[in-house]
Symmetry: C3
Subunit: 265 residues, 3 copies
């Protein structure tokens, strides 16, 4: 039984997510469906990408992730399948899938064009149900990704999925500010690893115009209340937080600001 996860900005007030599940179960009743989050802020591709990339490392090998935050539905943006070392991502070619996909080592990207694997009536407003859901279901049933369409190389790879990694230095940006005011970057645990940062190392984090010098921690409680710190906390991404305080206010940080770190010797 293959796991299929769903992420979208469809909310819970309509029947959209249920329609996608109905389509998947109609094609392969042995699929195991898990919601990641269907309450992504409308059209907020960056938030969708962040939540997706936070969750997918914990799913089994072979999981198929369907994600739909899709302001360009009905335009020429392409429907794609991303094949990685751990599974598949199905959704729009707008960058939504790439933060998660690159954590797992991206293998190939396919442009979905084969109408055989879509619903017979494809609407211009709801590719989640009419294209992405049936494609995911056919993947669970063992259809090879190359059956859906050609490999493409010019897929959208958004800035927020491209931190610049060098030895002892990573240049990224603010990806998300959570409900506690924690300022979360697009720099993943894997990126820090590649740049040679270890837990306990001293680093300098520059967010927008402000700088924090901190050790690289793993829990808020490792510093006194009111103190700022850099850590990999609950998510897989480097964040700056204030223990029992609000880092976004202290650093006047907002989504999209630069977030650069360098080693302190």
């Amino acid at each position: 039984m293959t796991v299929v996860t769903l992420l979208s900005d469809f909310g819970l007030a309509d029947s959209y997510v249920a329609e996608m599940k109905g389509v998947i179960l109609s094609i392969n009743p042995h699929t195991r469906l898990v919601d990641i989050n269907n309450e992504i802020e409308k059209f907020n591709v960056r938030m969708g990408a962040f939540i997706l990339a936070s969750a997918t490392p914990y799913f089994p090998l072979g999981t198929i992730h369907v994600a739909v935050v899709d302001p360009g539905v009905g335009t020429k943006r392409r429907p794609i399948i991303v094949e990685t070392k751990r599974g598949f991502y199905v959704g729009p070619d707008n960058g939504l899938l790439m933060l998660a996909a690159q954590q797992e080592d991206l293998i190939k990207v396919y442009h979905i064009v084969n109408q055989k694997y879509m619903l017979s009536r494809v609407s211009n407003t709801f590719h989640g149900r009419d294209i992405f859901a049936p494609v995911a279901a056919h993947l669970t049933a063992g259809t090879k990704p190359s059956m859906f369409g050609p490999v493409i190389k010019d897929y959208v790879f958004p800035e927020f999925a491209k931190p610049q990694i060098n030895r002892g230095r990573v240049a990224g940006e603010v990806l998300h500010v959570d409900g506690f005011g924690n300022v979360i970057s697009n720099i993943s645990a894997e990126d820090l690893d590649k740049a040679g940062f270890l837990k306990g190392d001293s680093l300098s984090a520059r967010i927008g115009g402000k700088t924090l010098t901190s050790k690289f921690f793993s829990a808020y409680g490792e510093v006194p209340a009111g103190t700022a710190l850099a850590l990999i906390g609950g998510t897989n991404f480097l964040e700056v937080a204030v223990n029992q305080g609000n880092a976004s206010r202290k650093f006047k940080a907002k989504v999209g600001d630069s977030f650069n770190i360098s080693a302190q010797v």
Copy 2:
């Protein structure tokens, strides 16, 4: 593994939906549970009927749909099973199930009276858990619908499930106004088919006191921004929309208004 869907106005703040799922899994652990929507506006039977009828066409043959929007719980309103060509509906006899059921060709309606298939202690406040959930579970296990009680003919068939269909003319009503102001009728794709309307035909839609002449479209983007149009969009029902605008304001339309269409030659 039979699919059982759940729709209700129970919300997410309590344990009600979980209790229903526990009851179903206790009777038949091989059931596959899918939420359609448990955030229906309290006691809004019409909204429940609309969301149910939007979702159920996408589910597998043999699916059992449990729906509970039930202002009359504890009174003499009857618990029923509706058998259709595609599956079963279980819920109160208040019209909630009928918009969906008639899309699938209704076969028979049964009055649930056999206490053998209810929880041993039936509360007056929660038939979802005490009657509808166990009945659905027993249906998944292969119990024939006639085992639950007698066939009835005088079930409630609400006005909103009865558009008047003639060649080139359908008289319906406004079923729902969605978050974008789209005005959705109770006239389904199947009804339009029966009345002989084809995509691209010209039609006149009269909503309350206002009239729109439009072709029968299938996507908002087929007309310029700001232009009103009639279409089958994301749902299975005819709607009037304004591309990138708000049709409910333009037509001063509200739920329950008449929504009549006729062919334009």
Copy 3:
């Protein structure tokens, strides 16, 4: 296929619940996951305990319930497994699990210490994903509870899980005031049984400083509109309600107030 339920205060805006599900399915893909409620008010252990205890009686024998409302995460509060006659509870040792567990006859409580059954990297902020989810998954796979750590006797047993039961008399407290103003006690149907109360008996309920004399009913509609009554209604707990009215206002009752009943002869 073992059922694992989830209850938490994580909300739906993040990926936390999905991460827990991913961890569970990675360890045992044959687990059947059911959400009880992930919208518990932040850090409200009492509300979590109430919702958990309302739902769990309806789940199959052998179900494993994971519950995380955990203001003490990262401190010395212990992660525990509670074994009962009906299944297992996994979560923090802060009383959250005990209202539900004692309804099912508590057998033993284990302190989870064996790191073999945790994620390899245990964060200080998210024991739901790093400890409770993997422990639950290993329980579904048949690992004996004693493998996770030693039996403990000094677990937290909160006041709200300890109504004082005597023949014809129970001393409890207000556990929850629901959206309708119904005042729900911590006195379960089982407690009333032990104290010898039967449906239809007359009783006197004293909430905070106010007293109600009422029969012990089972539905709001058994008294005229506007009349107060004591009943076991939709939940498994004794409540005081006003038919079509608001009991919390009438009795000026709030969570934590004393709620004592005695038999009236």
